[in-house]
């Protein structure tokens, strides 16, 4: 527990991704099996357990500690598990303590039934120090919440053997806790684990944003053209009577989409877009959000937000790996397969045809009017490559919208940016009670250069009117030209609007705040509800 507790303790306080990665990699290198495997499980899919831990902790505390002192301590700390870790009256033990390996704890947790829990938990708490107790209680109460995504943990593991995270993802869903075969492979002691025909996740191929130079070099005859759909990228994998739906990062999101899985009675791994569809029309992204991030889904929600998968590529069909084939061939196989199987709630992403670049330009320019996110250009000869390879797939998002806003609040950054104010809340003018006032419409923390960040920092410090902890309110004196992809109605915001992907295009040092845009100009851009 010692090393694992130290790791969690560092991760909790570390804001920077690279620093987290370093801590994780160091841990996985220095720790033996099976401890590191259980740590990896805890950091990714969690050690699932159904034990009444919280209640047991409180019952133990009642027996072992003064209730009044516990109340005072709990009030001060604000978190029950942390308070227990801090005040637990462990009997004095000889230094050095006999270690309690994470592997031993994790294995016990899997075998234990609820009757054994109180005694086992008490025994552990007595044997551990403060930080270890805190880590144990985090482990037992489910979510670690140390600011680590499953993908970051996998990336760290991959670095042990100098592999890419894609190679880990490729085998991940065929592995078992505590991942000894995975570590053996990464350390060069065994061959790559084999998923053996299970419906596992394969790392997806991603597109790059198209740049001026790409556009100039582009020969239309070499590319397939599709709409860019406004859903989420998914992989539907089915084999041997099992089906899984994965997100782009390899999270299994199938439990929220039984309606899709029930029809996946085939042997294939397919790439596509998850959408909500009504009467053949793609519903706004907001509707899809009602289905995401759920552990379960009701019939009612499934009926109100009908899910649909629109395929655009095939990685495997009937056990045959198609990824080395050119896109044109994979597409042909996908069409033939779909025409035969015809799984319900799916279709194929249409292939668009244009004769000239001028036509392509026109198609792109019409994307917003057609309520489409943009275009995808896929090289006909490209194999299916994991990651974001250069020069194969391009995404060409519709032109963003812009609005001139007034800076209202700035918030302190963290980590590398902790001495700056890199997070901006901006507003637009609107009339209230007979005079104009600013109402906040959004927040942005990107789109400026390092030099601009320094200039903004100076301006903010010089024009602060009030401070609330890490936030400064500033005089209405600086105009920001804000880019955004879309705007929707929102009941959660005072302004009644929510912008999608807002970022700063330019700082308008020249423009008087009075001449910034009005809220009405922004609300006019909201599409009427279908």
């Amino acid at each position: 527990m010692r090393a694992f507790a130290e790791l969690l303790d560092r991760l909790v306080y570390t804001p920077q991704r690279n620093a987290k990665l370093r801590l994780l990699t160091d841990y996985f290198r220095a720790t033996a099996d099976p401890d590191r495997g259980y740590a990896l499980a805890a950091l990714t899919d969690g050690l699932s357990l159904r034990l009444p831990v919280r209640r047991t902790i409180l019952e133990l505390m009642e027996r072992r500690f003064d209730a009044e002192l516990f109340r005072m301590s709990r009030d001060y700390v604000g978190d029950t598990a942390e308070t227990v870790a801090l005040v637990w009256p462990a009997p004095p033990v000889a230094e050095p303590r006999s270690p309690l390996p994470l592997g031993e704890v994790a294995e016990q947790i899997r075998l234990m039934d609820r009757k054994q829990l109180p005694e086992q938990l008490e025994n552990w708490l007595d044997r551990l120090d403060t930080t270890e107790r805190w880590a144990l209680l985090k482990l037992l109460t489910g979510a670690l919440r140390v600011g680590i995504s499953a993908r970051l943990a996998k990336t760290a593991v991959a670095e042990i053997g100098g592999h890419s995270v894609a190679e880990i993802e490729e085998v991940w869903h065929g592995l078992d806790v505590p991942y000894t075969t995975l570590f053996a492979w990464l350390e060069g002691k065994a061959s790559q684990p084999d998923a053996a025909g299970a419906p596992v996740f394969r790392p997806p191929m991603l597109a790059q944003p198209i740049e001026e130079a790409d556009w100039a070099a582009l020969d239309l005859a070499d590319f397939a053209l599709e709409w860019k759909w406004d859903g989420i990228r998914v992989q539907l994998a089915a084999a041997r009577g099992e089906a899984r739906l994965y997100s782009r990062t390899g999270d299994d999101i199938g439990m929220a989409f039984p309606d899709i899985l029930v029809h996946a009675r085939f042997d294939a791994v397919l790439d596509g877009e998850l959408l909500v569809m009504r009467d053949g029309e793609v519903a706004p992204f907001n509707d899809l959000q009602q289905r995401l991030n759920r552990r379960q889904v009701t019939k009612r929600v499934m009926a109100d937000y009908p899910a649909h998968v629109r395929f655009y590529d095939a990685l495997l069909i009937d056990g045959e790996d198609l990824r080395a084939l050119p896109f044109s061939e994979r597409r042909r196989r996908l069409e033939a397969w779909h025409a035969t199987i015809r799984p319900a709630l799916t279709d194929l992403s249409e292939q668009l045809r244009v004769a000239t670049k001028t036509d392509l330009d026109a198609l792109w320019s019409g994307a917003r009017a057609a309520e489409i996110e943009g275009l995808m250009l896929k090289k006909l000869t490209s194999p299916y490559l994991a990651g974001r390879p250069k020069g194969h797939w391009f995404k060409w998002k519709r032109a963003p919208l812009t609005v001139d806003c007034v800076l209202m609040y700035a918030q302190r950054g963290s980590g590398r940016r902790s001495s700056y104010y890199p997070d901006y809340t901006f507003g637009l003018w609107t009339e209230a009670g007979g005079r104009d006032e600013l109402v906040p419409v959004g927040k942005a923390y990107s789109g400026y250069s390092d030099a601009e960040l320094v200039e903004l920092d100076r301006w903010i410090r010089g024009h602060t009117t009030e401070r609330y902890g890490p936030v400064r309110a500033v005089e209405p004196g600086l105009v920001l030209e804000v880019l955004f992809d879309d705007v929707q109605r929102s009941r959660r915001h005072k302004s009644g609007v929510a912008m999608r992907f807002p970022r700063i295009a330019r700082i308008r040092w020249d423009k008087p705040a009075r001449e910034a845009d009005r809220l009405e100009q922004l609300t006019a851009l909201i599409k009427p509800l279908a």
Partner: protein, 300 residues
């Protein structure tokens, strides 16, 4: 004056009675504001004031810190001032004085406060320096006491590289050295010719994550304080490496002191009095909170 911290040793006092070290510290920090008359009293020297005898005994808090022992007609009161019971290479260790009335501080007077051994915290710091050699480790410390103790602890752990200091700490470190506390190779950050990657820098907590630290190499921000025991406090300060190093007694040590002095009457002040009073009464002592003109020791 029990010790030289600025929440006690404020400028503009009329008559000051303190240990010679505390008087030196006050003069260094306050100059002419260090009291109109200054009377030095060494540890263990008795001073008669009418029927009362006053003696100063080491409190182990910082250099020169003292408990005040007041004897009157066979009765003894001890005012601890700020104190700790762990070994500190920069000051004389706490001396237990049996008494009838104990006036104890309670900065960390809650069972949640149990300080880690300082060797362990220093080991964590040095492990982090090894793990992030391209970054500066910037440690927020109180300039008097904590600063010099941290340097001394690093030296004890075998760290003999230069330790870099914020300008405000130079003068007090020089004073410590003059009073016989060696600190090794210490230098001013202002004299550095690089961004101090891989080095340890000590600064006041207020300089953490502020403009002053922009000169440092992507600093790992650390803070050495007993408050770091509680995660919410550490997160509030945006600290990346909280070091639980305190110059005050923790909860078990407060209880231990109440017990060992044998005092029948306990007055509790400076901090979380409620829990200590509750605990002392459970131990069969008369106890009450002593409401002094308040202060909350923010960075200790």
């Amino acid at each position: 004056m029990t010790h030289g911290h600025s929440d006690h040793a404020r400028p503009g006092h009329d008559a000051v009675l303190a240990t010679p070290e505390t008087i030196e510290i006050m003069q260094s920090r306050l100059g002419n504001g260090a009291g109109r008359t200054r009377q030095a009293l060494g540890y263990g020297d008795a001073l008669k004031i009418g029927d009362v005898t006053v003696t100063l005994r080491p409190a182990g808090h910082i250099l020169g810190s003292a408990q005040v022992v007041i004897d009157y007609r066979g009765q003894r009161a001890v005012v601890t001032g700020d104190y700790k019971r762990r070994t500190d290479p920069t000051c004389t260790p706490f001396e237990l004085v049996p008494c009838d009335l104990l006036v104890t501080e309670a900065t960390f007077g809650l069972p949640v406060f149990r300080h880690e051994p300082d060797t362990r915290e220093i080991a964590r710091l040095l492990a982090s320096v090894t793990a992030f050699p391209e970054r500066t480790h910037q440690i927020g410390v109180y300039g008097l006491g904590k600063c010099q103790r941290l340097i001394a602890l690093l030296r004890k752990a075998g760290y003999d590289r230069a330790i870099w200091l914020h300008g405000s700490m130079i003068q007090l470190c020089a004073l410590y050295e003059r009073l016989g506390v060696p600190l090794g190779d210490i230098r001013a950050v202002a004299d550095a010719t690089s961004s101090l990657a891989g080095e340890i820098v000590l600064s006041p907590p207020s300089a953490l994550g502020d403009r002053w630290s922009r000169r440092l190499a992507d600093p790992v921000t650390a803070l050495a304080s007993g408050w770091m025991r509680v995660r919410g406090r550490a997160r509030q300060r945006g600290v990346e490496l909280p070091l639980i190093i305190s110059d005050h007694v923790d909860w078990p040590e407060i209880i231990q002191t109440i017990d060992e002095t044998g005092a029948g009457e306990i007055w509790v002040t400076h901090g979380r009095e409620e829990a200590v009073v509750y605990q002392a009464r459970k131990m069969g002592r008369r106890a009450r909170a002593l409401a002094l003109v308040g202060r909350e020791d923010e960075v200790e």
